[in-house]
Symmetry: C2
Subunit: 359 residues, 2 copies
């Protein structure tokens, strides 16, 4: 059996008994029931993921995957392709947005070369290059079916190595000039959304560039005819190497009962690939923020995930995941560290004023 | 001149030169311009608040003010009044939600008795009791005009003591059984909003309780006829002691060029009192989250503030402010710690693909 199939088979439902115990404890903590909202829901989900009533997060790792995209030759990005390896070097040196926000949140950063077009020889960058950039999807598939599977399996292995080394929360991040274009294509194919609604300005193209980008996506889909019922086919034909890698990271996390925080638009496209390969993996995904990129909201709806941060961000790299990873950790701390009504000698709700369940 | 008037007079506009320098630096950092959204805006505002191009946050303090409300005798809360001092004890012991989330965010918690109905003799709780709970506003003013001013001035003094001790970010929090009722009344009077829209379930009353609460607010406003053009009059007639105290904390922060993170519904009612007393203070306010309490959105609109966190929280205590204080700190770190394009040797945007300013 393939590594990919084995991983998918290992993704199991959440532990409902642990969730029940966590939910009961939440209702004994010194606050009106439900008043911490998403923090309560997250803590209960973490209990189900980790399979214990008092979950904890002790080591957070943001995995940033980089790759290039042949479709940039169509002129769909505001930045030149050389920026991909330059930013990989910036990640390795600690100077990028993701480095600052991960330091702030107490998370580590791993940088993975999934397919940068030029050689990357930077200490600390994990080399999982499947090929040096995708082909231009306007002229044919971005990559072969075997390469698509290889990306996902590389992502699974990267995730499992981090989990073996002690990571108990993963976050996704990416860098790849041009990568909002395949992400919009993936969203369009899987959801049937209108290309115009699924496509935005990425790093900042002008209106002419936006029209061109939409036309490029239309042509790529028309040329390749990806099968929306076959996620590997979609990834191969209109995807990206880092997108496949991140789909693997997400599956690897889910198979090992580790929560994975999804960053922005490109990470969510990877999450949708993962969810189509393995619907049960969705329970392990935690949405971080909603991006300015208009398709992100559609992707999150497609995934059934609710973002926590509304900060008009559109940088990617895992920056939203890094910020949200702290919120996830906080949710576990609330469940473990808050006093109960009994501990603190605090009176509970008046019975005559209990919540009406009928409204 | 009164302490209050002196404080209002000391609130000055933001430093536009520092903001300009911060904005220029943001555009040199290794990311598409504007791509960190609210984090960029916040860092620029912090520069204007602190009056320096590279702002920093080093000591965060959440000020939790507690008081009781005579209007609880109308039966408008799901919890009994004895919970106010019980929760003050819980804050002092470190077992409440605000304690956990402040520890998580690296913030300190100060607890202030502004007017708990029963004697509070707990080490570590700052005694600024103006009176033991307000009067029932259905029968007359909640407090006298002098008491309203005394609350605000106490808040100013509490804020200034923290700032003198080194705090460079304050957050607001509160505890007071029944205090969504005066908050809804304040919102209604200042904004002209419909009482039904401004009033929610607080800690969890049922539908009958909600109808009663709206009727109580209507009667209190009719009985007292607060003058919406006179913020002290509104606070005295339909406000609360902790609400006045927090309005003072906000004014004290603004007068000392310290950012203040506003928590949820009750804190935002206090912020609206502060903004009506001193419109320039709004530039120093940072919204944290949007609460489940329906009037909170209206209050934030009235204040012109945009929340960052959408987490369905409604606990108060400063819990949203504690979480958001970390985001504010992160914004300053981005501005100071990220590499510039020149530092990192990263190429800038293609000129032919620059953002169109006309769309």
């Amino acid at each position: 059996m393939s590594r990919l199939q084995e991983t998918i088979d290992n993704v199991r439902p959440l532990d409902s008994e642990a969730m029940q115990q966590a939910a009961e404890r939440q209702d004994q903590l010194t606050k009106p029931p439900g008043s911490l909202g998403v923090l309560e829901e997250l803590s209960i989900r973490l209990a189900g993921i980790q399979g214990r009533p008092l979950p904890a997060i002790s080591r957070k790792v943001i995995i940033v995957m980089a790759a290039d995209h042949g479709v940039v030759s169509e002129g769909i990005s505001a930045f030149p392709q050389e920026v991909t390896p330059q930013m990989v070097a910036n990640f390795a040196a600690g100077g990028a947005g993701i480095n600052v926000l991960s330091r702030h949140s107490g998370a580590e950063v791993r940088v993975v070369d999934m397919g940068v077009a030029t050689p990357v020889d930077i200490p600390g960058v994990i080399d999982r290059k499947v090929r040096p950039g995708t082909a231009n999807m306007v002229n044919g598939p971005a990559m072969s079916r075997d390469e698509a599977v290889a990306c996902i399996e590389a992502g699974i292995e990267v995730a499992e190595a981090e989990i073996e080394a002690g990571a108990d929360l993963l976050g996704t991040g990416e860098m790849g000039i041009g990568n909002t274009t395949p992400s919009s294509a993936i969203l369009t194919v899987f959801s049937g959304a209108d290309i115009a609604q699924a496509t935005g300005r990425g790093t900042g193209i002008d209106t002419g560039g936006l029209h061109l980008k939409r036309e490029v996506i239309r042509r790529a889909i028309e040329r390749n005819q990806p099968d929306s019922g076959d996620a590997i086919d979609v990834l191969a034909k209109v995807g990206g190497l880092e997108i496949g890698g991140l789909a693997g990271v997400i599956l690897g996390a889910a198979a090992n009962r580790v929560p994975v925080v999804i960053d922005g638009f490109i990470s969510s496209a990877a999450a949708l690939v993962a969810a189509r390969l393995c619907p049960a993996a969705r329970d392990y995904m935690i949405a971080s923020h909603v991006s300015v990129e208009p398709g992100h909201k559609l992707l999150l709806e497609e995934l059934g995930l609710k973002p926590m941060l509304f900060m008009d961000m559109r940088l990617g790299e895992g920056t939203g995941a890094a910020l949200a990873s702290g919120l996830v950790e906080a949710s576990a701390r609330v469940l473990s560290e808050m006093a109960t009504f009994a501990d603190a000698g605090v009176s509970e709700k008046d019975e005559k004023q209990m919540d009406s369940a009928t409204e």
